[in-house]
């Protein structure tokens, strides 16, 4: 009986040890990236793996703020690409990384369900009480940008919901539960034909800079730097531009 328990304990320790193994070993790069980068970074990851046979790029896409918290709490990430300098600061303030580099910019667009049932044309239309609007919560980058743009335009509105990330906001539009939302222009094509994007001039007053950084204690430091180089290269710029990002 005692021997059995020791065996179980030993097995548990071995398993625990496996979990703690550095994720960079064996040519692996772990990239934490903002949800809005899902499509373009996935493509770049495939290109990186093709250019560096035997390596593997693992992505963790999500709200920049959540990812920043996970990194601060010790998540094993090699590269962090955020949707705003503010969320990046959470990581750099904890002195977990060097100087970040801005690699892309994103602007907001008004997203409406296909057919535009509320007939929204300009930003001011969103203030109409009959129009249901979803925004990102101000705590996340797309929400901060939306607040900034609305203030710049002098538009006051009461949204029906404050979503926790841009994809959730977009989902409400896709399902037709809201008449309009403010999302990144890069997210609109990602939603296919179900969502229509309407650019508005005030968006220029709330441009989001996307910074990227290799984390200080990156287990796969060298590979991580090469991935960031790919993002900054002409090939990377091309992929990002196709997704709707602007160059910095």
């Amino acid at each position: 009986m005692r021997r059995l328990l020791l065996t179980v304990l030993a097995a548990a320790l071995v398993l625990a040890g496996c979990g703690a193994e550095p994720s960079g070993a064996g040519g692996k790069v772990t990239v934490f990236a903002a949800a809005s980068l899902t499509e373009s970074f996935t493509r770049l990851g495939e290109a990186f793996e093709a250019a560096h046979p035997g390596t593997a790029v693992t992505f963790n896409f999500g709200s920049s703020a959540t990812l920043a918290q996970q990194i601060v709490q010790g998540a094993p990430a090699d590269v962090f690409a955020a949707a705003s300098p503010a969320t990046m600061r959470t990581v750099t303030d904890a002195s977990l990384a060097d100087e970040p580099v801005t690699f892309a910019r994103n602007k907001l667009e008004i997203a409406v369900p296909a057919g535009n049932p509320a007939n929204v044309r300009v930003l001011a239309d969103l203030a109409d009480p009959g129009v249901k609007v979803a925004l990102c919560a101000e705590q996340v980058p797309c929400g901060a940008a939306a607040a900034q743009a609305l203030e710049a335009a002098g538009v006051r509105l009461t949204p029906v919901t404050l979503e926790q990330d841009v994809k959730a906001t977009l989902t409400k539009v896709r399902l037709g539960e809201v008449d309009a939302a403010l999302v990144y222009r890069t997210d609109v094509p990602a939603a296919g034909g179900e969502v229509l994007g309407i650019p508005f001039p005030e968006a220029d007053r709330a441009v989001n800079d996307y910074p990227i950084v290799v984390l200080g204690d990156a287990p796969a430091g060298d590979l991580a730097r090469r991935f960031v180089e790919l993002v900054l290269s002409p090939q990377g710029k091309d992929v990002l531009a196709k997704a709707g990002f602007e160059a910095p």
């Binding site: 959540t66 919560a137 029906v160 539960e177």
Partner: protein, 276 residues
């Protein structure tokens, strides 16, 4: 711990001598307890005690707490109203395909709540099968309203009540119901005057579980009802949003949720569950 004396068990001394506690059970039990309790301890240790009171007094916190308590309570009432009869149907009526129905009832237990929220949108949303009709006929829309929060919470929490009450109904001695029938009681009277009082402890236990689940509901709520302070932002949503930027605030909110639920559950248990 009581152990047997090496000279043999005491006889006729009036003292019960228990065998040695088997450590094969005790060790995993203590590990299990630690596993459940340690994360709570982590919250307590990392809580920003000096600023705690000040954070608690913030209007958004009180607003979220009030909304959580109100919606969880209404959701529990809804679950009782619909869930107890459903449990009765499953336990007492020979339905065709009863096993399938019972499996369907438990679906919200295994469904990720976010998926549950999407499913609710597809049915009760503005363009949903039923929601469309609700809006055109009554001008009622559920998403982004407090009623929507109640719907999401009830959807996720009802199986807890149904399973608990159905179990109580199956365990209850059905011959009491037969005795009532021989005294001239209709099935409704039997249910009201005999069955309900007999399974009351099970109903209270189920309602408590149901309320606790509704109080902690996150995924279906944020997906179906959205997230807006005062109308739909319950405590779990506030916690999640606070985590994005201010983990300490999230800890404070969680502690409030924890304290309130522990107090209410403990007082309910003493008053109702043990009394039966």
């Amino acid at each position: 711990m009581t152990t047997t004396s090496p000279t043999g068990p005491a006889r006729g001394g009036g003292r019960v001598v228990a065998g040695r506690l088997p450590w094969v059970l005790v060790v995993p039990a203590l590990l299990g307890l630690a596993f459940l309790v340690l994360p709570l301890a982590g919250l307590l240790i990392r809580a920003p005690w000096p600023t705690l009171l000040q954070r608690l007094a913030e209007p958004q916190v009180l607003e979220a707490l009030r909304l959580s308590l109100v919606t969880a309570t209404i959701a529990t009432a809804v679950c009782l109203l619909l869930g107890v009869p459903l449990a009765w149907l499953l336990a007492r009526v020979d339905l065709p395909g009863r096993r399938v129905v019972r499996a369907l009832v438990t679906v919200p237990l295994v469904l990720p709540p976010v998926v549950g929220g999407v499913a609710l949108l597809l049915v009760l949303g503005r363009r949903g099968l039923v929601g469309q009709w609700l809006e055109s006929a009554f001008g009622v829309t559920l998403p982004f309203t407090t009623a929507g929060v109640v719907v999401a919470e009830a959807f996720v929490a009802m199986p807890f009540l149904v399973i608990s009450v159905e179990g109580a109904l199956r365990a209850a001695d059905q011959r009491y119901e037969e005795a009532a029938a021989t005294l001239g009681a209709s099935r409704w009277t039997v249910f009201r005057r005999v069955t309900l009082p007999l399974v009351a402890p099970g109903i209270v236990a189920g309602a408590v579980l149901c309320w606790a689940r509704a109080l902690g509901e996150f995924g279906a709520t944020i997906t179906f009802a959205g997230n807006f302070p005062g109308t739909t932002r319950t405590m779990p949503l506030a916690v999640y949003l606070a985590l994005e930027t201010e983990p300490e605030a999230a800890i404070v909110l969680s502690l409030v949720l924890l304290a309130v639920s522990v107090v209410i559950l403990a007082s309910l248990r003493d008053r109702w569950v043990n009394a039966a």
